[in-house]
């Protein structure tokens, strides 16, 4: 939640209790991380790629950081309950006579599935890659959208 404060975006979604708990846990992690000098694992599924899921009235948005992966190297499957993202990150070999000083970037296969809390419109899912960040826009099904009820 710190980036919200950082970018001065007003806080919107603190109503649900689990969200509050998540924030508390992350703040505790920060605190203990600062004391022990390391970062404790955050509340996550532990499967690459790490994803952020957000929602507005119309859509769910799934975002993941996938630097160096082209959109045609990604396989995104949609089912009624959620989506799965899989692919392979390839790091090309840089010639034979290179001497490596550091090698921190990792290559390999990945596969991740995410279940969404309510029904989605399978036919209208859109995905885009921009600067190494994947964004999947998943419209909620008509039945799942919030509706304003007018009182007669």
């Amino acid at each position: 939640m710190f980036y919200r404060r950082f970018f001065n975006v007003p806080n919107w979604g603190f109503s649900k209790s689990f969200r509050e708990f998540d924030r508390l846990r992350r703040e505790m992690d920060e605190l203990f991380g600062a004391l022990s000098g390391g970062t404790l694992p955050r509340l996550s599924a532990g499967v690459f790629p790490l994803t952020n899921v957000t929602e507005d009235k119309e859509n769910y948005y799934v975002r993941a950081e996938l630097p160096g992966i082209k959109s045609n190297e990604l396989d995104i499957q949609v089912t009624a309950e959620g989506i799965s993202i899989s692919g392979e990150r390839k790091i090309p070999v840089e010639g034979n006579n290179v001497k490596y000083h550091r090698r921190e970037r990792e290559a390999g296969k990945f596969s991740r599935s995410i279940n969404l809390p309510c029904e989605i419109d399978v036919n209208k899912v859109e995905a885009s890659m921009e600067n190494g960040v994947l964004k999947v826009t998943i419209p909620k099904s008509e039945a799942a959208k919030p509706r304003q009820i007018t009182i007669k």
Binding site: Y3, R19, T39, R63, E65, H101, G108, K109
Partner: protein, 136 residues
């Protein structure tokens, strides 16, 4: 190499920077993952900086210290609510001490799909030269 490429990628949480100098603006700062390799002619640096655009990236080389800084805009619109947050975003910042003498005029930087590729050619005199040993 093939063995390495076929394995599954493990989750590596973004490393937060523990910088000696404090930021003036609050916010998270991460160190990007890098590959650095060297040939006789140049040093190449590859850095994963997802979300950074070319306008928001600054590369600075002075007194043999290379500084990479990338700003990331918030990924979501104001009317979006969080459902599941597994990664945070923030600035990328990393500094390197370069040992070889770099030809500043020939530095080349490319940013594609969130990966920076920086070519730092060495100046002529820093290139290793084979020395012939004469007998006689």
């Amino acid at each position: 190499m093939t063995d390495k490429e076929s394995k599954e990628i493990q989750v590596k949480p973004k490393q937060e920077l523990t910088s000696p100098a404090e930021q003036t603006r609050p916010g998270l700062v991460f160190t990007p993952n890098v590959d650095i390799f060297e040939t006789d002619q140049e040093i190449t640096l590859l850095a994963d900086m997802p979300g950074v655009t070319a306008d928001n990236l600054s590369i600075d080389l002075r007194d043999n210290i290379l500084t990479l800084t990338g700003e990331v805009a918030p990924f979501e619109d104001a009317n979006e609510e969080d459902v599941l947050i597994e990664y945070e975003i923030g600035k990328y910042h990393r500094q390197f001490n370069l040992s070889s003498v770099i030809d500043q005029s020939k530095i080349d930087a490319k940013l594609t799909d969130g990966v920076l590729r920086l070519s730092l050619p060495k100046v002529e005199k820093a290139m290793p030269r084979r020395i012939e040993v004469k007998t006689g």
